[in-house]
């Protein structure tokens, strides 16, 4: 029965422990660490790419109509995130980046949500003359009968 | 009048047995009251003898029909009651009485109870006659009576599995033992022409042992060893104890094997005075150690409550024998003390097994479980018995075992013999194994999960409980007052065991020994002291004070401590933890408590299992072979 670790144990007893004094001494993480997400709403263009690539569906977008335009709120739920960094990679405007903050400890789940909102101004509306309006109305009424489904399927038209 | 008490007590047992045959067949009440009455009479009579014999140190001799010795030759049949006889007689009558009371309820579901009580009282009469007798041939007759009564009682529940088989084995091995005794008696009679123990003793002491007497002695020794179930003769005991009704198992282990021990002590100390020879000491101690160790290791691998207790019974008899074989004052006192304790705690444990059988209908350890909630009193009683047999202080087993260890180790120091040091080690180890084994019983019978068949178990009726409680209290008392027990029971008995001259003189008339040139010296002095003697009372008081203090402090700290919750039914919080699994789907189970032990000692256990084959031919062979070895040893070395 060999006991190879006696020497090791005794040596360690008189040397410095390798424990990091974590809560007292904060620790820097290495490069490339993907921590808590930082969102720069001023860069976002509301393309929705991040939502499409997010596997855990941690990103939600809410759109409110306001006076100045649509108020778009991006909400990144860190509690549901896998930190794959796909959203950041796909963001053409670099409005999403993953910081080095790793300590995400909360008692309330809502505190884990990273939000950012910006206002997407509505495009300036063309002023139409009454005649033009009447023309459009007539055209619409003529169309109504034959192409209701078409209209439904193409709401942008 | 008091002179007649010994014979009256024997007669009352036999008379009771005949009366039950005549009147007990029809009426249950008459039968039961006869049984209790005629087992209580000897108890009273024998207790009356305590004062003159144990305390005042008299020796009663009684010649049947007043056939006193003629010109120094004993021609009549004598009873002789000295302290040793009375000591064993007390165990016998106590056991008989308690077993009779226990039987009333316990056996009430069987039929043919008149035959049961007949045999039962006859068995008691046989054992009582044996220990009170002063006549070698009379002892043989009593041995025959008790053997055949035992055989019949073993087979009493003949509907049970294996009881007829056990009875047959008992019959064969018991008959071989009886035959040895008879042959021994014949040989001795041929040499000395008398059957009185006292006279044989005196004549052998003056004339010395011849090869013929040694041969006779060896046969007698082996015969009584068969009755005490020491090692080569033991396998039948396990079967018999297991299949007999529990009240009878209690009687077997409480007094029938004590009868064998009594016979051996009487023979080696008194009649043949062989204990001064170291060869004799060696063979008794070796047999004792073997009995101890094999008994307890076999007990470890048993799956039946009563069979396990039976092997423990064998093992504890090994302690008694070892202690007796040490031939020191402390040794024989320890041995007798242990015999007393063994009667109490083993009787108690067998009664507990009986109670369990009465409530559940099984003694299979694998089928029992969780009875502590159903039978709380039996559990406490069983725990007292288990602690006693394991020798935990302050129960009685501790005291006697301690005397035995000290005797063995002192003997080792005295003779400078390493052998006796090993004996001490074996003794202590066996004690630990006993504890381990009883933990297994406790765990698998009383604690653990409630087994499927045990839901309807109920506490046994009062008439079964109070004999158990009485014995439990006696267990505690004999543990708490060892000084008292020593002074009034054990020391007089051990003094009587070695006081040959007094015995001879009481029987044959004063000065008989001196006439033959026997010196009146006693072989041993009974002065001993226990090194590091402790006071169990002080210890117990301490224990109680501490426990009370702890309870109070825990109670006071209630404000600051979390609440102790009582279980709420159907709340998963109070379920047993099965790793989150529902209990019915759990695969966890500790089936074999001694797996690690058995795995490491598997060769030993395999050998032992092959030895305990259950084949009666084998057992007869062990008996004869064992006897042959004993005879050979004695002729060579004595």
């Amino acid at each position: 029965m060999g006991l190879p670790f006696i020497k090791e144990a005794i040596t360690q007893l008189f040397s410095k422990p390798s424990t990091e004094k974590y809560p007292l001494v904060k620790k820097e993480v290495s490069d490339g660490f993907r921590g808590k997400l930082v969102f720069h709403p001023e860069l976002c263009i509301n393309c929705g790419m991040c939502m499409r690539v997010c596997a855990p569906q941690a990103i939600t977008r809410t759109i409110e109509k306001t006076e100045e335009g649509d108020r778009i709120t991006m909400e990144f739920h860190m509690g549901s995130c896998t930190f794959c960094s796909m959203c950041a990679d796909f963001c053409s405007k670099n409005s999403i980046e993953l910081s080095k903050e790793y300590s995400m400890v909360v008692t309330n789940e809502d505190d884990l949500k990273v939000r950012g909102s910006f206002i997407k101004k509505a495009p300036p509306k063309k002023e139409l003359s009454p005649e033009q309006l009447a023309k459009l109305k007539a055209a619409k009424a003529a169309k109504d009968g034959k192409a209701e489904e078409e209209f439904d399927s193409c709401p942008d038209a | 009048m008091i002179q007649h008490f010994p014979i009256l007590s024997i007669m009352s047992l036999f008379l009771g047995s005949f009366l039950i045959v005549i009147f007990g067949g029809k009426n249950r009440f008459i039968r039961n009251s006869l049984a209790v009455l005629f087992s209580a009479i000897p108890l009273v009579l024998i207790c009356c003898l305590i004062k003159p014999i144990l305390i005042d140190g008299e020796i009663f001799s009684y010649w049947m029909g007043d056939w006193e010795p003629v010109s120094g030759f004993a021609i009549g049949i004598g009873l002789e009651v000295d302290a040793l006889s009375l000591f064993f007689a007390l165990l016998v009558v106590l056991t008989i009485f308690l077993a009779a009371v226990f039987s009333l309820k316990y056996m009430s579901r069987d039929d043919a109870l008149d035959k049961y009580y007949t045999l039962f009282l006859m068995l008691g009469g046989g054992v009582l006659g044996l220990v009170l007798s002063g006549d070698l041939f009379n002892m043989y007759i009593m041995v025959e009576i008790l053997t055949f009564a035992s055989v019949a009682l073993t087979a009493f529940r003949n509907w049970g599995k294996g009881s007829l088989e056990a009875a047959f084995k008992y019959l064969v091995v018991g008959s071989i033992g009886s035959a040895f005794i008879l042959t021994g008696v014949i040989l001795i009679y041929a040499q000395v022409h008398t059957l009185s123990l006292a006279q044989i003793s005196a004549l052998l002491a003056t004339e010395g042992l011849t090869p013929a007497t040694i041969f006779g002695f060896a046969l007698l020794f082996a015969g009584y060893a068969t009755k005490a179930y020491i090692v080569p003769f033991h396998p039948v005991a396990a079967d018999a104890y297991m299949t007999a009704p529990s009240s009878i198992s209690m009687v077997f282990s409480g007094m029938v094997n004590k009868a064998g021990i009594y016979g051996m002590i009487r023979l080696v100390y008194m009649v043949f005075q062989a204990m001064s020879q170291s060869a004799m000491q060696y063979i008794i101690v070796i047999l004792g150690c073997l009995t101890m160790f094999i008994g307890v290791t076999m007990a470890l691998s048993q799956h039946d409550f009563k069979r396990l207790l039976a092997f423990h019974s064998i093992s504890q008899i090994g302690y008694v024998l070892t202690a007796v074989g040490l031939a020191t004052a402390l040794g024989i006192s320890g041995g007798l003390y242990h015999a007393l304790n063994h009667t109490l705690f083993k009787g108690l444990l067998f009664l507990c097994a009986g109670a369990v059988f009465y409530s559940v209908g099984s003694t299979d350890l694998d089928k029992l479980g969780g009875l502590a909630k159903k039978m709380p009193q039996t559990t406490i009683i069983f725990l007292i018995g288990a602690f006693s047999i394991s020798g935990l202080p302050p129960f009685n087993g501790f005291m006697s075992k301690w005397m035995i260890y000290q005797a063995a180790y002192e003997k080792a120091a005295l003779e400078g013999s390493f052998f006796y040091a090993l004996v001490t080690i074996v003794g202590l180890l066996v004690s630990v194994l006993t504890l381990a084994s009883f933990i297994k019983v406790t765990q698998s019978v009383f604690f653990g999960q409630l087994a499927p068949g045990c839901e309807k178990a109920k506490e046994v009726p009062f008439s079964m409980r109070w004999p158990m409680w009485l014995m439990a209290i006696l267990c505690v008392l004999t543990g708490l007052f060892p000084g008292f027990v020593n002074r009034y029971l054990v020391v007089p008995a051990s003094a009587a065991a070695i006081d040959t001259t007094g015995y001879i003189d009481a029987m044959m008339g004063a000065g008989y020994g001196q006439q033959l040139g026997l010196s009146p010296e006693t072989a041993l002095s009974l002065e001993y002291e226990l090194t590091g003697y402790w006071d169990p009372i002080a210890w117990l008081v301490l224990f109680v004070v501490l426990l009370a203090g702890l309870m109070i402090s825990l109670g006071l700290g209630k404000a600051s401590r979390g609440p102790v919750r009582r279980p709420v039914p159907a709340d998963p919080k109070y379920d047993t933890f099965f790793g989150g699994e529902a209990s019915q789907h759990s695969h966890v189970g500790g089936s074999d408590l001694f797996w690690g032990l058995k795995h490491n000692l598997r060769h030993y256990f395999r050998f032992m299992h092959s030895m305990h084959s259950g084949v009666v031919n084998d057992y007869a062979l062990w008996t004869v072979a064992g006897t042959a070895v004993i005879i050979l040893f004695m002729i060579l070395f004595l």
Binding site: P23, S80, T107 | -
Partner: protein
Amino acid sequence: MFKKIIDNSMAKSPWIYHINTGSCNGCDIELVSVITPRYDAERMGFKLTGTPRHADIVVVSGPVTSQSKERLVRTLAQVPEPRVIVSLGSCPRPCNVFKGSYSVEGPLDKFCEVDVSVAGCTPKPEAIIDGLALAAQILKEKRRQK
């Protein structure tokens, strides 16, 4: 005073019981790494126990799968009060990538009150230490309020 000692000890000796309810093992490994010499949570009194009866902090990792739901509920019930439940990693509460799976019964909040959640997939050991320290403080508060 005695009460105060007990309250203070509460925060200084939290024992952890760890339940894996279908986790990918990532969080489990990181939790174990917390008791390695490098992070050594024992210096703050944390200790992994083997049974819920001894636990103060229950750490749950993994989305609650339908297989593990029953076991989780049963085990959580067996933890004595006061207790704190920590959800470790992204899985237990919003179910992470397993959201909406036929075999996931989560979130954990359906079955018990979750006190602390540590985000990360998997959280760094430092984050786990932070979370456990917070849980210990909550434990003390719970004891005090009682």
